[in-house]
Amino acid sequence: MDELALVKAAAPAVSGPDSAVRERAERRLESAITSAVHAPPERAVQWWRRGSVRRVAWAGAAATALIAMLVVSLPFAPSPAAGALERLADLAVNQERITPTPGEYVYTRTVGTEIRSWEDVETGIEFSYQVSFSRQAWIGSDGSGRLVEAMHSPRFLSEADEDRWEAAGSPALFPEGTRTDEAFDPGGLAFIDLASLPTDPAQLARAIESRSVVSGPPGELSTLLIIGDLLRETYAAPRMRAALFEVAAMLEGVQLIEDASDAAGREGIGVAVVQGDQRAELIFSRNTSALLGEEVVVNEDTVLNSSTYFGPVIVQSTEEKP
């Protein structure tokens, strides 16, 4: 047996693809055909958003002669980012719900960085610095639990910021302390009651965009971050998680980031929205649809905040760390 025969023998035995893989690829190809041939992207997105239900939007669009001529035989697919988010929705809807029973807690750990600004109202001196933080949360189904938060490693954004800090009298950068550890009685931890929200994507989108679910500034970037919040620590039902991904897929201008990885080096599916000089990015696990991390960048290279999430995991006490 010569080396070529050995190389042949070393070929991995692979199977597939299964029909789901093939269908997803078909949708992606159709999306590329649609966006390459039909309309400018913003028009396509507007068309997509006009319909409150995807099926209705598709039927409406398919009725137009031009699109029908070009799409041929298969249903429309959204943009690559929307397609990726819909795959995550498909994944989420088939997953088991993380449900703590009484006495159990959902544990999540977050590490990241954020930029803080300090201003002396009397002198007008202001400076900015970046801090690293970690946050551990144990949240029970009754809203009881524990939060441990720590701040460390402050770093001035520039020498000028450090000079201004000294000019301001070198105030403490962590006036609230570097570590807090709080226990909460039932109801003490604010919970977003996702059970009361609609799972229809269009209705859910309207609820989120009205900011009645989570407050925040208007705009698609803020909506994406709110979706990240809702997917993060709450133990939403699979159908609700799927609906949240569907809402993200509807966002105007949502972009797919190939080969995204979080600050811990975990690879996943990244989606981003740019608004003005800011860019928000969420990264999800390809295998579990879990939110791995998020980042907000301003002026292309200044990271306003970056968070990496670990969990959620069910634990038996507020002392347990998986």
Partner: protein, 190 residues
């Protein structure tokens, strides 16, 4: 008299004006391209790259030489180009195979020698991991995908002489790195 069906070159040429003509290209070749990629990277990446291969093929269909019968070598070339962004994943895949993924497919090897052959295959995969990526591309397309020299040349858009030299270099390096047990070599070639 039956009408002659279009070659894939003609289909691709026609698809420039009529995009729906691209559909048969996808239907005929997606599975093959997916399995090729799945041999080289993890299944999730393979799915992503296989889909992207056809997106890229569609985007560049006007560049395909309509005189060619089959689009498959061209698709292999696009897929291989996309793999270049995933070299690290490919190395991870090869490493993983050496640890867990080897399943012998050679029916003539009896079970008592299977362990010996597995060890040799591990050394082959390790050697493949150390090849220059361009040499590995040629080797894999030829040995794993059964592409002829001319098809490899077409896929990678390199002269056929370059295919020969890369293959020669790859084989020499693998030969140097592996040491198949004499007894097994004799038995296997009987």
């Amino acid at each position: 008299m039956r009408e002659r069906s279009l070659t894939e070159g003609e289909l691709l040429e026609a698809s420039v004006a009529e995009p729906e003509k691209f559909a048969p290209i996808f239907r005929r070749h997606f599975d093959v391209i997916f399995r090729y990629l799945a041999k080289r990277v993890d299944p999730t990446t393979a799915e992503d790259l296989a889909a992207e291969t056809f997106v890229q093929a569609f985007a560049h269909r006007s560049r395909f030489d309509p005189s060619r019968e089959s689009a498959l070598p061209w698709l292999y070339g696009i897929a291989t180009n996309l793999l270049r962004h995933h070299r690290r994943r490919e190395r991870v895949r090869l490493t993983a195979l050496t640890r867990t993924g080897i399943r012998l497919r050679e029916p003539t090897i009896d079970s008592e020698r299977a362990e010996e052959l597995t060890a040799v295959i591990v050394s082959v995969l390790n050697a493949m991991e150390t090849l220059e990526p361009s040499d590995r591309d040629v080797l894999v397309l030829h040995a794993w995908e059964d592409l002829s020299y001319s098809q490899v040349a077409e896929a990678l858009e390199i002269p056929i002489g370059t295919v020969r030299s890369r293959l020669h270099r790859a084989r020499a390096l693998i030969r140097e790195r592996i040491d198949p047990p004499e007894a097994m070599t004799n038995r296997a070639s009987r």
